[in-house]
């Protein structure tokens, strides 16, 4: 079990990191070179392809029940505020309860997950101990395992512990994220130079202080990325909460909207409410991405050693 294989991704991460910043002032390309139309066009097509469903949700959310299936698909309707009011009043505002639940599951879950990933990743990157590669390989296998296959076993475990149908039953399984640990390890390997760690150790820092004051600040951009990934994953998770929870006041927004859609056939379906709810449920994710964007741009500046 050698560690050389695991060092390789760490090295490749670095050169790829500066890419977003570009290379200003590169004299390679003469100014009169014309725009490459084919790639631009392809990218534009891709953008349209991604945005069309979003635009649909946006316009459909503005339509009233009567307009939804009878007016032109992309023509905005007149029922948005009414939909919003109806959604808010459905079953005593249970939708906002779902949103709050989702925020709790995703927020706390991702925060804890980032913390666990950070500590674990750092330890795996900077300490040499027996079985290190074995642990890491098991984690890698965990990355390959789709979370869906674990939902039922996790449910059985939780119910044995008497935690089924509780907030903890959804929160606990999302704390350990193999992918987050994997990312953190690679990031710690690349961003925390051994020289700095050694220097701090010479100055008399113990392990915990070393991590807290030296390594952690350097790892922040990586951890923000882990936090975001986990947040999105938990926010969008469906199967785990669907199986775990029986009480619809503990549902996250995904399961809640699904239950709105599957009312049983003798009820008028709540399409407009579901669409409006879906639109609102995306907004926190967009806000989070815009808000945290700058944190993972500082990536380049976080090194302390010129090499």
């Amino acid at each position: 079990m050698s560690s050389t294989t695991t060092a390789a991704p760490g090295r490749t991460l670095r050169p790829s990191a500066p890419a977003p910043g570009g290379t200003p002032g590169n004299p390679m390309g003469p100014p009169r070179r014309r725009t490459a139309w084919t790639p631009t066009l392809l990218l534009l097509l891709g953008a349209v392809y991604c945005l069309v469903p979003l635009v649909w949700v946006l316009t459909a959310a503005t339509k009233s029940r009567e307009e939804l299936f009878s007016t032109f698909t992309y023509a905005p309707g007149s029922g948005f505020w009414n939909n919003l009011a109806e959604l808010s009043s459905y079953r005593g505002g249970v939708y906002w309860q779902w949103m709050a639940n989702s925020a709790l599951y995703a927020g706390v879950g991702a925060l804890l997950s980032a913390a666990v990933s950070g500590v674990t990743g750092y330890a795996l990157a900077k300490y040499r101990f027996r079985g290190r590669s074995a642990v890491f390989n098991v984690l890698l296998a965990g990355v390959l395992m789709p979370p869906i296959t674990l939902a039922v076993p996790q449910y059985l475990l939780m119910s044995k512990a008497g935690l089924a149908d509780s907030y903890l039953s959804v929160l606990l399984p999302s704390i350990l994220s193999p992918y987050g640990i994997y990312l953190s390890r690679i990031y710690a390997e690349a961003a925390v130079p051994d020289e700095v760690v050694e220097a701090a150790r010479v100055d008399g820092a113990k392990d915990w202080r070393l991590f807290r004051s030296v390594a952690l600040p350097m790892m922040v951009p990586g951890l923000v990325t882990v936090f975001l990934f986990q947040f999105v994953a938990i926010w969008n998770n469906f199967l785990l909460p669907y199986i775990m929870l029986g009480d619809d006041h503990k549902f996250p927004v995904t399961v809640g909207l699904y239950s709105l859609l599957q009312q049983g056939s003798n009820e008028p379906a709540m399409y407009t409410l579901v669409i409006t709810g879906a639109l609102l449920s995306v907004l926190p994710l967009i806000a989070l991405f815009l808000g945290l964007q700058r944190y993972w741009r500082v990536d380049l500046l976080s090194g302390a050693v010129k090499s």
Partner: protein
């Protein structure tokens, strides 16, 4: 090589976790609750406002309190319920569709409540009651709502094109073709390959019994003459383009209903609910008629959906079975409960007394043009053919979606799809350790 080792290790680890979790069911909550205070029951239901009906009961029965936990309906709920029961977390009461009952019984989820609730039998039509007994002496649930099939059509457009409401399937085919000649862009209805429930109902009407049990042997007769007749009938119409072949419940389908390009719909008694949300512009323009017949003059129909209230084996373990059975039969036979079910939950009750009484005297809002809507529905419901469900309806249904979906799209023959359905259903039964005859 390292990776393979690690994978094997991870797999082994997960395996042991699952095993250790499975090996100890029961245990939690067996005896603790029996101590004192009111009995607390949980009820999984997907019907909106079911909690309001439970409120009526809770007020009158302070010693048995029922709390409704609202679920998302559909096939996934069966899986969820079985998983919960295996882990010892099943609710005391569940709402289950009729076709799911054998699956739940064979997974030991539903308890036999013949002792507590067997006397409710007289309140229901024979065919309906048979569905909750599975043909045995046991009673696994109390019928809640039924969904007899009927033919819905646009009164105004039928008049405009000079069409007659078909009473036999032959007339139905002729009407579909006549309409195509007069207005090529319109269609009488669509054959949707996404809805095995409707097809199963139509096959029931033709006399099919897809599953039958004798002793401990199951026989499967999906690929029988009756079903074949139904399949050939619809594949002929689809092939000639006499009816549409787009799936139901899509935005495109809703639009077709709403703008009148689809003039009719073979559906169940709950259709008003769907029409209200899918085709709001057509309010007051639809009418209900009996399902076309294979033999002129008869009045047989199938059903599409409907559900029952069952008591779980979990409730038996915790000593709440009596209380739960009491609530289940109250919910579906007591006049006050039936009134609340009809008014709040909007269902078509299975109890025959409620179908013809004053409860359903007013037509649904969407059918104000047809004041005798429910009288007609009750008349149609009388001829509901008994349904025969087996323990793996979900397998047959997904085989239907695969095989018929392809055939409907290619406008090919449906008969080979039936053979495929039959095969995968029998194979699945055998694989799961059921004895299969023939």
């Amino acid at each position: 090589m390292h990776r393979r080792l690690a994978l094997a290790a991870a797999a082994a680890l997960c395996g042991t976790l699952v095993l250790s979790a499975c090996s100890s069911d029961g245990g939690s909550g067996d005896s603790a609750k029996a101590a004192s205070g009111p009995v607390k029951l949980t009820f999984w239901s997907w019907a909106p406002n079911m909690d309001k009906v439970a409120e009526v009961w809770n007020k009158a029965n302070p010693d048995i309190q029922v709390s409704v936990l609202k679920q998302a309906g559909g096939d996934d709920l069966v899986t969820k319920t079985i998983t919960a029961a295996k882990a010892g977390n099943a609710p005391d009461l569940i709402q289950a569709e009729y076709q799911a009952l054998p699956t739940l019984v064979s997974n030991d989820v539903l308890a036999d409540i013949a002792k507590q609730a067997g006397s409710a039998k007289g309140q229901f039509a024979d065919g309906v009651w048979k569905q909750v007994t599975l043909g045995s002496d046991a009673v696994y649930a109390i019928p809640e709502d039924t969904a007899p099939l009927a033919f819905y059509y646009r009164q105004d457009l039928f008049q405009q094109y000079g069409l007659k409401v078909p009473t036999t399937w032959d007339e139905f085919a002729a009407t579909a073709r006549e309409l195509k000649q007069k207005a090529p862009e319109k269609a009488l209805t669509t054959f949707s390959a996404n809805d095995p429930g409707l097809f199963a109902g139509l096959a029931q009407q033709a006399g099919a019994k897809w599953w039958t049990a004798s002793g401990d042997k199951w026989s499967v007769a999906i690929d029988d003459d009756a079903t074949r007749k139904v399949a050939d009938f619809w594949s002929g119409l689809v092939k000639d383009g006499a009816v549409d072949n787009q799936p139901m419940y899509t935005p495109a389908w809703s639009k077709a209903l709403n703008d009148g390009s689809q003039l009719g719909w073979v559906s169940a008694v709950w259709a008003p609910g769907v029409l209200t949300s899918s085709a709001p512009d057509t309010k007051g323009k639809w009418a209900i008629a009996p399902l076309p017949q294979w033999q002129a003059g008869s009045s047989v129909t199938g059903s599409w959906g409907g559900s029952a209230t069952g008591v779980t084996t979990g409730a038996v373990k915790s000593g709440h079975a009596d209380a739960a059975a009491k609530f289940a039969s109250w919910l579906n036979t007591d006049p006050a409960a039936l009134e609340a079910l009809v008014k709040e939950v909007n269902i078509y009750p299975a109890a025959t007394s409620a179908q013809t009484g004053s409860l359903l005297s007013a037509a649904p809002d969407f059918f104000t043009n047809q004041p005798d809507f429910y009288a007609k529905a009750a008349e149609i419901a009388k001829g509901t053919a008994p349904a025969a469900w087996g323990p793996n309806v979900n397998v047959a249904y997904s085989a239907f979606k695969d095989a018929f979906g392809k055939a409907a799209q290619d406008k090919g023959a449906f008969a080979p799809a039936l053979t495929a359905m039959q095969q995968s259903t029998v194979e699945d039964l055998k694989k799961n350790g059921f004895q299969v005859a023939g």
